[in-house]
Amino acid sequence: MRIPDEAPDTARERNNIVRRAAEWLRAAAAIGAAFDPEARAVWAMLEAAAWVAGHLPEIRSYLDARKTLEELQNAVDDRQPGYEIHHIVEAQYGSFHPDSNARIFADRLESRENLVRIPKWKHVEISSWYSRLSEEDEKKTPRSYLRGRSWEAQYAIGIQALRQAGVLK
């Protein structure tokens, strides 16, 4: 793994480097190699590159161990760099669809049960998953599949996504 001294020109390039580093370190931690010389060398490269400094919190948060739902919910009141607030049932505030969650579940979306604080890149991974077409139904994304379904059905999927993303115990 190589971390360039100079910041790449585009956000996409910068994010890709930061994410690959975070994934590499997560894999190293999973096999008990978090403190091996190679992992230390990656950290040293990251800390030496000035442009990475602002990304270090999101790299560190990516290495978090799984937490209980209560821990993730309680953390919402403690906003920290490297983390984002995630809606377990998607909010869809930008949607004009008549069945968007923002219209149907307006009174529940910001409730304590629906908000968790999770690592920034895990938030991106989960949000992207909702937008991807898949073999389950070639014309629907998970988001369009869930549109108009009950709160409970959407909550169950949201919980599962947190689990599969390695965020929730």
Binding site: A30, E125, S128, R132, L133, E135, Q164
Partner: protein, 121 residues
């Protein structure tokens, strides 16, 4: 008519593998637009393979042993009805041994499959 119908089945399998790599990278980079483009191409190839019968669809089977985990994973998704045990093993491995966005994708595939949301044929 699909532009893929003129290609041999072997060429389609090779193309499937190339697209699988690009689709996997798009997942990893959270590039949804690129992912969905690759997905549509993969679907188009699969439709042609399917129209040629199950024996031809099974030409994807060796991809389950590819060196590339993206290729293994997408081949498994498309073969889960024809080679369920082996395909499931591949998807389970990706779900539990990946440390990026593909783990979530694989885990949700298994969840959909086990809960009757994903009914491959």
């Amino acid at each position: 008519m699909s532009p893929f119908t003129a290609l041999s089945s072997e060429d389609l399998v090779r193309m499937f593998a190339e697209i699988a790599k690009k689709r996997g990278i798009a997942v990893r980079e959270s590039d949804t637009r690129r992912h969905n483009q690759m997905f549509r191409r993969m679907q188009a190839i699969e439709r042609v393979l399917r129209s040629r019968g199950d024996d031809v669809r099974m030409l994807l089977l060796p991809l389950l042993d590819s060196d590339d985990r993206f290729v293994r994973y997408y081949a498994a998704r498309y073969l889960i009805a024809l080679a369920p045990e082996r395909s499931r093993q591949v998807i389970e491995y990706v779900a539990s041994h990946s440390f990026d966005a593909l783990a979530l994708d694989a885990g949700m595939t298994l969840y959909s499959f086990d809960n009757g949301i994903f009914r491959p044929d």
